[in-house]
């Protein structure tokens, strides 16, 4: 069923009794040409592109819980393009662009909202770092510019005067967009299901079965399912799922916290980044302030996070925006990030034939469509696209790391 204004009017006339399920309820078959573990944006996207671009429609997505209930539900919806190192800059620039046509391609409203991002700089060092970032990212097409204090005050009218804080200026990054996170999972699920992909929820993978030639299937809570091509798009537990196939991943699992206030009238269009405070915040379309912190100082699987982290985030925001003092919290949570040592993702083949991984996105919401497309391409053709060659698992043996600073887990 196509979603359109005409259909909406027609269903309205029929009292909205004609809407159908967005995706089929599927029970697992005996075997599939390909199986994806993980029903978040990355996994559902990979299944969709396998069917759409590579004609492999006998595909299943296995999800332990419900669709988009992991980090797809726990991110702060920000899609930015300020990565410095060439491999990352190239990939993230293409990733931001891959969102632009997603709504029309999937016939599902991603609620893309072009906000722009304003970074507040508070020292000469911030300024020279920002200039370096602007110069390097410009080589790959990203647009940023330094703005002076006057323009900064215009963009963030509620920020304190530079007389109180050593604010030296800012960076404006116009290409930053926000997207509705649930829509990404639901849109991909619906489109993939329409192409014949089986989406199987409440199905936990408990083991990966192999023979001498590679992967032969998975053991799940709903029985064994055979496949020769297995993709993994798991967040938070990537190391444990890969270990089932005998693959050791260089991953540490760390909480990344965010929080949301009660909704207020619109006062802020930009996404604000406070450099040096590991803090950013924006106002959602519903009017809530969405605030994000840096990673917790020790690894954990607790989806709450350490309490001193949001405390520091709020303190930082109140220094620059004292007028927000009486805002009230609605909720706070942590997403469980799989972090690699270089804070860059792994989208790669593994030493086990037929086992492919797309993990450790380090805030991988922003790369969802492109990473999913590349993962599908990797599964279909058994070789990495030049765009993701640098994200191989081998880089940890060869030493060709991408020590990115624009990711969350700066270490």
């Amino acid at each position: 069923m196509k979603y359109s204004a005409l259909n909406l009017a027609w269903q309205g006339v029929r009292n909205h009794r004609g809407w159908r399920r967005a995706w089929r309820h599927a029970t697992p078959k005996k075997a599939y040409d390909a199986i994806i573990i993980g029903g978040g944006g990355h996994g559902l996207g990979a299944a969709y592109y396998l069917a759409k671009k590579h004609g492999i429609t006998n595909v299943a997505v296995l999800e332990k819980g419900w669709l988009g209930g992991g980090n797809t539900a726990r991110n702060t919806m920000t899609i930015r393009d300020n990565f410095i190192y060439p491999d990352n800059a190239r990939f993230h620039h293409a990733a931001v662009k891959s969102w632009h046509t997603l709504s029309s391609e999937l016939n599902f409203n991603m609620m893309i909202s072009k906000r722009g991002m304003t970074t507040v700089l508070m020292s000469d060092r911030d300024l020279s770092d920002a200039q370096r970032m602007i110069n390097t990212t410009a080589l790959f097409g990203a647009e940023h510019r330094i703005i002076d204090i006057e323009e900064l005050q215009q963009r963030l009218p509620m920020a304190v005067s530079p007389a109180r804080l050593p604010i030296v200026g800012g960076v404006y990054h116009p290409d930053v967009v926000m997207a509705r996170h649930d829509a990404v999972a639901w849109g991909y699920a619906r489109a993939a299901s329409n192409l014949g992909v089986d989406i199987i929820e409440n199905c936990e993978v408990t083991d990966i079965i192999r023979d001498a030639k590679g992967v032969t299937g998975v053991e799940t809570s709903l029985g064994n399912i055979l496949t020769r091509k297995l993709g993994m798009a798991v967040a938070g537990h990537g190391k444990h799922v890969a270990a089932m196939a005998g693959v050791e991943l260089p991953i540490e699992t760390v909480p990344l916290q965010a929080m949301v206030s009660t909704p207020v009238k619109p006062f802020l269009d930009n996404i604000v980044v406070l450099r040096g405070f590991n803090t950013y915040f924006m106002q959602s379309d519903k009017g809530e302030l969405v605030m994000g912190s840096g990673t917790d100082p020790y690894p954990s699987y607790s989806q709450r996070g350490a309490p001193q982290i949001p405390e520091a985030t709020i303190a930082a925001i109140l220094q620059v925006f004292p007028s927000l003092e009486r805002m009230q919290f609605m909720r706070q949570w942590a997403g469980i990030l799989d972090l690699t040592y270089d804070n860059s993702p792994i989208i790669s083949k593994t030493e086990v034939d037929g086992f492919y991984i797309d993990v450790a996105g380090s805030g991988g919401f922003k790369t969802t469509p492109l990473a999913a497309m590349m993962h599908a391409d990797l599964i279909a053709n058994d070789r990495p696209d030049p765009l993701i060659e640098a994200y191989s698992l081998e880089r940890f043996s060869t030493g060709r790391l991408i020590l990115e600073r624009a990711s969350y887990g700066n270490r």
Binding site: P250, I251, P297, P299, F396
Partner: protein, 87 residues
């Protein structure tokens, strides 16, 4: 999280720095190690889900390294016996 330091008593986690899983020890003879084993030592940590013994550095307290048992699922802590403490 309130961590019990054997020298100082119960202190807030802000006084401590996480020092990694005790099982992630430097190999005895690095020269004899294969590239893959060296990679695993540098980049792979046990990343245990559940109880693990960990090094913590009481940097804003007595400045000693201690061993703490922590459950990484809910950050619950358990006291260690004295002989397992370092320093």
């Amino acid at each position: 999280m309130v961590i019990e330091c054997p020298h100082c008593g119960e202190r807030h986690e802000d006084e401590f720095v996480y020092g990694g899983d005790v099982r992630h020890a430097r190999p005895e003879n690095p020269d004899a190690l294969s590239d893959a084993a060296w990679r695993d030592y540098i980049y792979s940590v046990p990343n245990t889900k559940g109880w693990a013994k960990e090094h913590w550095w009481h940097v804003r307290g007595c400045n000693r390294w201690i061993v703490v048992q922590r459950n990484s699922v809910n950050n619950e802590l358990r006291s260690e016996t004295d002989e397992n403490y370092h320093g």
